[in-house]
Every structure is written in structure tokens, then in C-alpha cells.
Symmetry: none
Subunit: 216 residues, 4 copies
């Protein structure tokens, strides 16, 4: 991996690329934190995973907590922006959009290290109140409004039946969040677990429950 990458960057293959260091460290930290949790992750491991020395971590981050917070904030916001963008330009039924969103979620989040962030926040919310608050405001609330607006739109269009859009959005989002959490906890023990099937089934039930009777 490093061989190929380095050859594509400038001409100095033999020297380590300093501009990539933060990203490499963040990726390593995301991997370790989401695997083992905050406390059980040793900075030694993160450093080794990132291919740097332990001291180097401190050149880029103020410490373990700061690294943890950086992982959450750096990786999570771009994803939300992407989702919102995807929705904005979408022409078609809300039902189809929701399907698309889940598919995107499955491919770009669930099946990557990014899904670990959900588990990390769940596990460490009580130990990092300010981070949890940031996450809640900027991730949870923002996506909830986003989804609630979609549902409202669907109701206005006559696609969904009238309902409490806020709680309907919570329901939809809990499908997504739970799938991410599961991925990083008990899914490894759940032998015949098929993410796609799970998401489709759950979305199917959700949509049948939301659509107006004359739809579907």
C-alpha cells in the first residue's frame, strides 16, 4: 500500500510524506478506537498501525482525548454533507430516495471503518460529554431534521401518510445507527447475518408502515 501511494506522490519516494501524517494517524486511530474502544486502545497500537512512533502522535494531536475527538469530528461531518448533497439533487420518490440513502450508507459507511464511529460515540458518550454534545448537535439533530424534512415532503406529496415526522425520522435513523453499531459489536457472532437483507427488510417494513394505503 505505501509503495504504490508514495510513487504517485511527487518524486521523493524515500521520504515520509509529512502532509499525510495527520490523515494516516486519524485512520489508524479510527480503526483501533472502533475496534477496542477508547480506553482499551493503546497509543502504541495506534502509532504502530499508522507506521509512526508514539512521540509523533503528539506532534499532531494534543493527546489521546484530542485524538479521539478529532477522529469523530473529522470523519463524521463530511459524510453528512455528502448525504445531504445526495438528497438535494434527487429527483424521484422519497421512497426511492430512502432506498438510495440506505444503499449509500451500507456501501460507504457500514462496510468501512467509518461505521465504528457510531459505536464509539455510544460507548463513550458519558465519558466525553462535550464530544457527545457536539455529536448530538451536529450529527444526530442535523440528520434527524434532514430526514424529518424528507418525510414531511413525502406527506405533502401524498406519498406518506400523516404522522409525527420527528419520531418517524428517529425510527428511520435508528435503523441506520443500529446497523452500524451491530457491525462493530455482535455481528461477528451472527453467522448468517446479511447486512443488505437486514436493511432491505427493515426499510420494507418501515415504508409499508409509512406509505399511504394506496401507494406501494
Amino acid at each position: 500500500m505505501s509503495e504504490l501511494d508514495s510513487s504517485t506522490r511527487e518524486s521523493c519516494r524515500w521520504r515520509r510524506r509529512k502532509q499525510d501524517r495527520p490523515a494516516e494517524i486519524l485512520a489508524a486511530a479510527l480503526k483501533m478506537f472502533s475496534m477496542k474502544g477508547f480506553a482499551a486502545t493503546k497509543l502504541d497500537e495506534v502509532a504502530k498501525e499508522a507506521g509512526v512512533s508514539k512521540g509523533t502522535l503528539y506532534l499532531y494531536f494534543d493527546g489521546k482525548e484530542a485524538l479521539f475527538k478529532a477522529v469523530v469530528t473529522e470523519f463524521v461531518l463530511p459524510q453528512i454533507a455528502k448525504a445531504e448533497e445526495q438528497a438535494e439533487h434527487y429527483k424521484g420518490s422519497i421512497k426511492d430516495l430512502m432506498f438510495k440513502l440506505l444503499e449509500h450508507w451500507r456501501i460507504n459507511i457500514l462496510q468501512t471503518e467509518l461505521s465504528g464511529i457510531s459505536k464509539m460515540m455510544i460507548a463513550e458518550a458519558a465519558n466525553f460529554p462535550d464530544l457527545a454534545n457536539f455529536y448530538f448537535e451536529n450529527v444526530i439533530l442535523r440528520t434527524r431534521h434532514f430526514v424529518a424534512n424528507l418525510i414531511e415532503l413525502a406527506i405533502a406529496r401524498g406519498e406518506f401518510r400523516a404522522c409525527n415526522t420527528d419520531y418517524a425520522a428517529r425510527s428511520f435513523l435508528s435503523i441506520m445507527v443500529f446497523s452500524a453499531i451491530w457491525q462493530h459489536s455482535l455481528a461477528p457472532f451472527d453467522e448468517d447475518y446479511d447486512i443488505k437483507e437486514y436493511l432491505n427488510t427493515h426499510l420494507d417494513i418501515f415504508l409499508r408502515g409509512m406509505l399511504k394505503d394506496d401507494q406501494g
Copy 2:
């Protein structure tokens, strides 16, 4: 258990309460572990919460890991037995039974410390593989079969539409598990969160999605 015991120990107000110690310690440990996670919980805190000294913990449990495992195994199995029993004697529609189950879940689990166990297992599954496996087999699979059977019955009765019962059960259960996890993570930041409303909305959607068109 408490009724009988209390009559025999009335006289010993001070120390020497060997019979009660394990339960007191387990309760304290559940509280601390579910609040702060395994690693972030100090045995000092558990001891203080239980009203004993640090050394006393070791009279009843072999160490921190053993205590953690005991918390999970001791508290979780009785709850499942209760749920199964409740279902067994139920006369009425599956729809109503599901409503009852969620209500029981809300009152006896979500609003007690017991809901912390779900978060603990999610957070520590990777660090306690054998415990996670035990939990998966004895809690997840068992409840999943239990719910899948209910759904199958509902389909046989013509109450629910035909579907993949295994994944439908996963959907239903993920509602429950997620509500527990939420309770111990971001719910404190979710100011206008109403558990009852959340559960009802989600169940409503679920049932609308499951019921045959001529039902409801």
C-alpha cells in the same frame, strides 16, 4: 429472596452480611459499568457505590473481568425468562402482545439500570469475545427465536403478512435494543426525547408494515 432473608438478618445491622453482599456489589457494578464502560470504571468506585471496601469485592468475585461477566450473566437471564413466560400465557393478538412486550420492556428494563447491559455488551463485545458469544447465544438468539416464532404464529393466524420471519424479528428486536442503548448514551442530550412516544411510534410503523392490509 429479600423477604425471607431480611427476617433472619434483622439483628446484624453492622457488618457480616455475606448473603447480601453479592447482590449489592452486582448492583453497584451494573450501575458503574453501564455508566462509564468497563475500562473507565474503577473498582474503587464500585466498592464505594456498594458501600464496601475494595478488598471485599475480591471476597465475592475473582476480579474485574469476573465481576463484569457476572453482571451480564446474573441480570440478563432472569429477564428473558420473564419475557418468555409473559408471552406463553398470553391470550390475544400478536399485535397486542408486542405492545405489551414493549411496555414491559420500557417499564422494567429501559427505566431501570438493566438497560445498561445492552450498551455494555455493545461496547465491550470485541474485548470480551467469550462473554459476547455467551450473550449472543443466550440473549440475542434466544429472543430472536422467540420473536420469530411469534411472527410466524401471527402469519399462520392471518394477522401478519407473509415475510422473512428471521429478519422481521431482527427488526423488531433492534427497536428494543436500540432504545436501551440510546438510553445510556445520547438520550441525556436529546431533550425532548420521550421513550414512550418513541416506542409507540416505532411499533406503530412496524405493525403497519407487518399487518395484512385488511387488518389494523
Copy 3:
């Protein structure tokens, strides 16, 4: 063991014999201390070996150190008295007396728990200076004088050649002490070790080295 003993004492078989407690505890302590050393011996083990509760130890001894000191002082002095008495009444050559002494040593000390005391003192001398001093004065010096006197007598009798009796006594005694130490350390690994053969060979060499040339 307890059945027989108790039946021979008074009539109360069912009650524990309080007058034996200290001796039972000392015997148990000697066993454990000589096996595992002072620090590695737990009072729990001593109590269990003695068949009493841990708290009972404190009724008879002031603590672990006091118990250790009692083991050394209680067991060791009677043995010396015995040896001295044996020598006093002996009619015969010093050579034969030394053989008898070693035989007595082998049978009554080496092959019993008592030999552990030597190892204990060697191992713990630096940690128990006052005990070591007591042991040195009352055991080492006393026996050294005793043996030196024997050698002096043998020289006077023309049985042994003239020599530094003090150091000759040290040599003889180091045979005895070393055999005891070996017994409780590496003898278990020394598969074809035969105590009797060892003592006889060593004594044989010693005597050949001490006897006047015309003796033997």
C-alpha cells in the same frame, strides 16, 4: 490423625483440644514456612493446615513474624539439648560418636520437617536480624562449641590429629547444615540422591582427614 489423638486425651473427643492448638499451629507453620519461605507463605494456608481459622492464629501468636520466630525457637532448642545429652552419656570413640550424631541427625531431623528450619534461617537471616542473631548464638555457636569440644577431646585422646578445632567444627557442622538445606531446595531435582550415602561419604572423608595416621 485427629481421631486417634483425641481419643487418647481425656474424654472430650468431640471438642477441640485447646491445649494442643499452639503446637498444631507451630507444626503447620513449620511445614508451610519451610516449604515456601516466609513471604510466600500465607496465613490462610497455615490456618487451613492447622485446621483452625485465620483469626485463631492471632489468639496464640502476635502475627506472622512472631509465628515465624516461634517456629524457629520452639523447635530448635530441644533438638540441641537432645544432641548434647546424647553426647554426654556416650562411651566410645569420638569417631563413633560422630557417626551416631549424623545418624541421629539424618533420622530425626533430615527426614522430618525440622530440617526446614535451617533453610528458613538461611533464607530469612537478613530479613530477621534479631532472630538470626538469636539463632546464631543459641544454635550455631552452641553446637560449634559442642563439636569443637568433641574434637579437642579427640585430639587429647590421640584419636584426631592436632588442628584448628574451631574451623574443624565448622567443617563438620557445615556437612550437617548443608544436608538439611539441600533437602529443602534442590534434593527434589537430584534424582539419585541418597542422603545416607551422602552423609556417610562426607563423614568418611572428614574422619580420614581428621584421624591420626595410625588410626582408622
Copy 4:
């Protein structure tokens, strides 16, 4: 080793002396272990003695037991090699060689910290069976064969009388081992103890007991 290294590390007066640390720590550990025994030695003391912090010990050794084992194995084997080498090149009587060996033992072992190893093994053999076994095989048996061969040679040469060479070797070695043990236990209380006199007397007796009558 020290010559070369010292020239390369002259400049680093402060920290960062990875090359020397293990030896410094081992020396400190040997001192403390042989003084106080395994259990009574605190790693704090070893660290202080070695001039490093407690944590540093763990950079070089896996823990207290590993440190103890390292002390035994690292210090003991070179000594045996030296003794064997000394004997191999010796021209002269076995009697003189034994005198030389004891002199070497006195100067290079007894009067240095190295003699503490004997006491340590005696004291802790039961608590470290695998280490004791290693010590027995590689130290005791090896030196016993070495000495037995010398005695056999002396007999073949007509220098010593015929005897059980194995047990004669045990006798000779027990002189050496005992002198080391004594050094680290009761010698401090033995005010007029003179190592040289002790060894010479004991060797004198041993040799008189071993030599053929026409020798000496």
C-alpha cells in the same frame, strides 16, 4: 563489550543508555534479591538501586519473575564456563587444581555479589520449580560431573584413593556452595569468621581424606 561501547556512548550522559540498562538492572536485582530474597525485594528498590524508574524495568524485563530468572541465568553460566576453562588448561596435581579452584571461587564469587545466587536458588527453589530445574541441570549437575571427572582422574593417576567419585564430588561442591550460602546468611553474625581459613581448613581435611596414604 564495555571498551567499545563506552567510546560510543560518551556523549550521552543523561538518559538513553539502552545498551547499559539491562546490565545495570541485573546487577541491582542480583544485589537486592540476594540480600532480601525474592518476595521481600520490592521493584522500587531494584529500580532505585539501578538508578532508573520503576517503569523502566518493564522496558527490559517482563516482570519480577522474569527479572529473577534473568539474574540467575545471566550471571551463572559464564562463571561455570570460566571454571571449566581454568581446569582444562591446568598442568599439575589435582590437589593443587582444587586449591586453585577454591581460591578462584573465593575471590571471584564469594567476595562478590555473585555468591548471592546460591542462596537465592536455595531459598526459592520450591517457588520456581522450572528455574530450579534449569539451575540443577546447568549448574549443579554440570559442575558435579566436572568435579567427579577431576577426582576420577586423580584416582587414575594414583593421587587420590579409590572412592565413590559422584559422592566425593558432592562433598567437595557442598563446601563451595555452603560457603556461598553462609556468606549471605549468618556470616555477618559470625564475627571471627575468616573465609580463607574456612576454605583452607575444609579443603585440607577433604584432601587428607582423599589422598592416598603415601601422598600429602
